[in-house]
């Protein structure tokens, strides 16, 4: 009887082990969807790709705090996941955890954000090139061929990747003298603050013809200030309005001709990572350690309804 029982138990163990092997367990450490429209789309993207239908068991953890993320990653390692996918809250402090993952044979992918660590600690990083995103936008602006560029520049939270990338390209133009800096202020992603900044410029009586806001919400705030003071904007207006993120509502403003440009840093990285995991599972090797997501920029003149549906974030 005892023998029979142990046999059954052993059999059950083997069965569950094989059953588990058929599926790939991934631990996903990300920032919470409430952070921004970008993050919301990012989290949804991963949830839609790493499903049981696609042969994955996904464990997720979301936090804005690096230490909580580190603890969660460590827990995933203890749980014995096959792959660890990380979008870190901060770029530093990850060496120990990544090393521990390597020792346990867990392969690591970075997405959205880089981590300051040795290349050997991860398989590949799928990230956005924020600097390129800013350049794309500024090149579009230069392409308009305006007689003069008097720019109100509204920045995001200082020091964030998005702010640094989106500011860099424009700062280069200010330094080169091709564009004039009428005002450069951070609104820390706050829509109403952006409105106050533009109001203060209007009240001072200074002339300007470009608003370069580092996200959609702040562009909306800026436009509200223009509307209140009877300043025209958009495709046939006096002031060129530029935003970032491509929320659906913002793209509709473009369609209506109220804004001119919206740039996007792509939140869709899950498919790329999933493909790489499949390559590794099938015994292949990865071509490159660094994959840069394609950045987009939409012009009000060429934007279509389809683009809004495909690339717009949120509702």
């Amino acid at each position: 009887m005892k023998k029979l029982l142990s046999l059954i138990l052993a059999l059950a163990l083997v069965l569950t082990a094989t059953a588990a092997m058929a599926e790939i367990t991934v631990g996903i450490v990300n920032n919470p969807p409430s952070e921004s429209g970008y993050r919301e789309a990012n989290v949804k993207d991963f949830e839609s790709v790493f499903t049981t239908d696609n042969g994955y068991v996904a464990k997720t953890f979301y936090s804005l705090k690096n230490d909580e993320q580190l603890a969660a990653a460590q827990q995933f390692i203890t749980d014995g996941v096959d792959y660890l996918l990380i979008s870190a809250a901060e770029t530093t402090g990850w060496d120990a955890v990544l090393q521990s993952a390597q020792e346990n044979g867990i392969k690591v992918f970075l997405f959205d954000r880089m981590i300051d660590c040795d290349e050997s600690l991860y398989e590949a990083a799928v990230v956005s090139d924020m600097a390129k995103e800013g350049e794309t936008a500024v090149n579009w602006l230069l392409g308009l061929g305006l007689d003069e560029y008097k720019v109100i520049h509204i920045q995001g939270a200082m020091g964030s990747d998005a702010q640094l990338g989106r500011t860099g390209a424009l700062d280069a133009q200010f330094e080169a003298g091709t564009m004039v800096k009428v005002a450069q202020q951070t609104a820390t992603w706050d829509e109403n603050e952006a409105k106050n900044i533009v109001l203060s410029v209007i009240n001072s009586g200074e002339d300007f013809n470009v608003i370069y806001a580092e996200n959609d919400g702040m562009a909306r705030g800026a436009v509200a200030a223009l509307d209140e003071n009877g300043i025209t904007h958009g495709v046939n207006g006096k002031v060129v309005v530029m935003g970032f993120d491509c929320n659906k509502w913002a793209l509709r403003e473009l369609l209506a001709g109220n804004w001119n440009y919206d740039g996007q840093c792509s939140p869709f990285q899950a498919k790329v990572i999933s493909d790489m995991i499949q390559t590794l599972e099938n015994g292949g090797t990865l071509e490159s350690k660094l994959v840069i997501s394609e950045e987009k920029g939409f012009d009000a003149a060429t934007l279509t309804e389809d683009d809004v549906a495909t690339y717009g974030l949120g509702e």
């Binding site: 969807p33 409430s34 952070e35 921004s36 429209g37 970008y38 993050r39 919301e40 200082m158 005002a183 202020q185 951070t186 609104a187 820390t188 992603w189 706050d190 829509e191 109403n192 603050e193 409105k195 106050n196 900044i197 109001l199 203060s200 209007i202 009240n203 001072s204 009586g205 959609d216 919400g217 909306r220 705030g221 509200a224 223009l226 509307d227 209140e228 003071n229 009877g230 300043i231 025209t232 929320n247 509502w249 974030l313 949120g314 509702e315």
Partner: protein, 355 residues
């Protein structure tokens, strides 16, 4: 307020509390007049909707401080009754704003009816949360700042759950009018809302004993109780009123841009609201209070911010400059300095008489 009518110096001391906020706002005005006299110019411009509206820094100040002024009024009451402050007002306004947006979005179209319904709904939710804060403070006697820390921490997450989505938007000319200008009226609607709230408060004090009750609870809780005042209820009531103020502030903030960003909506406004109460000459330890002081305090804070923007001070540095000015105002208004000053005054007065 139900002050006892007295003459002469007593009448004067009734307004003595307003000296500090008045001096603060006067300093900002004089500073601006020297820096750039055109700072205060107000013009009539035609906005993009074709209405003639007032514009200029002065309008920006009064308009921009609306949420702060409303919150400062509620905060004054809580401060007076409980001798402590509610630090969750920003988070609660975000929750109220989210509820407002939720109701607006649930209907097929936005009419005046849905706006009223939305306001009632968000007001009810905010008052419930206010009651929660108030219960912790009055029944369980938890220090207000600690009690409201709960909502301060989790409030913005709650706001997120209500709508999902990072920045839900609503679009309707009615909402634009609520947060901007009603066609035909050149004054921004938020300013009108502040006036309505202030009138409601003054009616409340005129026709009920809330003012004097709040004051007595704040000055000496035991004595108030022995005199038959239900101190628990009064404290609870002040938190409920503050909840309603949060709802009003949330609705104004949402309507301005027809959008709610629960992470940034009225972020850190609690600190400014507490400051407005302090600048208004109200003792943060409770007791006597004047709402008008807090309102002036709110406008002084906004005037300071607008001035710094006009001077092109980098917005990252604005907080530091504000801190310096605030330290000055609070120190000048502190009892120690006041005592020293009045002693100095008395020493000088007879000297003058002799000379």
């Amino acid at each position: 307020m139900s002050d006892i009518k007295k003459k002469g110096s007593i009448q004067w001391s009734k307004y003595a509390q307003l000296i500090v906020p008045a001096v603060a706002i006067l300093l900002i005005i004089v500073f601006n007049l020297i820096r750039d006299p055109s700072f205060f110019s107000v013009e009539i411009t035609q906005n993009n909707d074709g209405n003639n509206v007032l514009s200029g820094n002065l309008v920006s100040i009064f308009n921009g401080a609306s949420e702060l002024a409303v919150l400062a009024m509620g905060m004054t009451l809580v401060t007076a009754a409980c001798g402590g402050q509610d630090i969750s007002v920003g988070a609660l306004a975000a929750i109220a704003g989210s509820v407002f947006v939720k109701v607006l979005k649930s209907g097929a179209s936005i009419s005046i009816g849905t706006i009223i319904l939305g306001f009632i709904a968000c007001c009810a939710v905010a008052v419930i949360f206010g009651t929660f804060n108030g219960t912790l403070v009055s029944v369980f006697r938890i220090q207000p700042m600690i009690a409201t820390l709960v909502l301060y921490t989790c409030g913005r997450s709650v706001a997120y759950w209500i709508n999902g989505g990072a920045t839900p938007t609503v679009s309707s000319p009615l909402i634009t009018a609520l947060g901007g200008f009603i066609p035909g009226i050149p004054v921004p609607t938020p300013i009108l809302i502040v006036i309505v709230v202030a009138v409601l408060f003054s009616l409340l004090f005129r026709f009920t004993s809330l003012g004097i009750y709040t004051q007595s609870v704040g000055i000496n809780q035991r004595a108030a109780r022995l005199n038959g005042i239900n101190t628990v209820f009064i404290k609870l009531l002040t938190f409920m009123i503050l909840g309603a103020c949060c709802a009003v502030a949330g609705v104004i903030a949402v309507s301005r841009l027809s959008l709610i960003n629960h992470e940034t909506l009225l972020l850190e406004i609690e600190m400014d609201a507490i400051l407005a109460v302090a600048i208004g000459g109200n003792a943060l330890s409770g007791g006597k209070f004047r709402l008008s002081g807090s309102i002036i305090g709110a406008y002084a804070i906004q005037a300071l911010t607008t001035t710094l923007y006009a001077m092109k001070v980098p917005s990252t540095d604005i907080k530091a400059y504000k801190a310096v000015v605030i330290i000055l105002i609070v120190v000048i208004g502190s009892p120690v300095v006041k005592q020293k000053l009045s002693a100095l005054w008395q020493k000088l007065s007879p000297g003058k008489a002799v000379a």
